[in-house]
Amino acid sequence: MSQVNVTINGEHIKAVEGMTILEAAREAGIFIPTLCHHGHLDAYGSCRLCVVEIGEGERKRVVASCLYHISEGLVVETETDKINNYRRIILNLLMHRWDNIPVILLEKYGAKNHSRFVDNMTYCILCGLCVRYCRDVKGANVLGFVGRGTIRQVVIFPNQAAKYCPTCCPKEMECLHYCPTGVISSQYYGSRPADGQKLPHAHPVCINDDVNILEILERVGHV
């Protein structure tokens, strides 16, 4: 892999070609906030908190740093007024799904509760980390997405859970550790599906194989 020269926030950095901007920045100790990124999983690009500006002058544009691959001579800025303002708006929006966003992020970008937004406090920001981990790394398919657009959500498939969750890491449920919001509750430690107890679930509802999925979709927003 060849080395390329990139400039991040005015700093000249050597990085390996094929890296994303996010990887190169982190390697150089430059902070870029993310909520849907995890080194073990393919980049997904859903939270958009990692947006940065690339290029110069007229050709400046906004890209998601977790997805954009660096090339020789790339100029990146991670904390311009524009970018920080966008991050503030994104955090403002997310606060209406999850009111526990780390204070450090909120303070850094000046995000605060917005009185004109409507609450949809599901505590799940649909970053998909749990689903992607369960599906792509473990091949277990216990978790999945249903619905699209504003009613999209994460649900659990109990039959799969009964089969696979007991074979996951014996000490703890791994999906829980990928979840940035902590919505997959830790109350399920020690009372795993194999014990015939409740299942770990992504808030607000879990899917029961006997319940039709449409009913669940209808309940979104009422829980």
Partner: protein, 152 residues
Amino acid sequence: MSYLLAKVDQIIDGYGAEKEALVQILLDIQHEFRWLSRETLLHTAARLGLPMNHLYNVTTFYKHFSLVPQGRHAVSVCVGTACHVRGAMRLLDRVSQGLRLSPDETSADEKFSLKTVSCLGCCALGPVMVVDGKYMSNPTSNEIAVIVEECE
């Protein structure tokens, strides 16, 4: 094996049981039975070697799939842009009132299903209501009531 699953098998085999043909297979099943029952989904998943989370993801993503039985009479109100500016929302209100159904609902006796669609391409008639393939241009409440009466 039931008639139902034999029919599903026939559809799946028509596509060589290819995973990639999932959406096409589901479309055919939906067309055949007017909805996708849990039984047919489980069977399709097993035949194609796909997990159920994938099937539910697909079936709840695309608008055409229905996971509940549909009424015998399909009533659609076009809410495309052309119909919208010509008063489709008022028409939808009247139809809703006449059928006592909200959009995307099916009556308890499975007589009617009410849906909204985005553009039927007959913008000249707008706002349009379609009952079992018959087009009607901006019917009044009384006219809607007559149609409701006429349907079996």
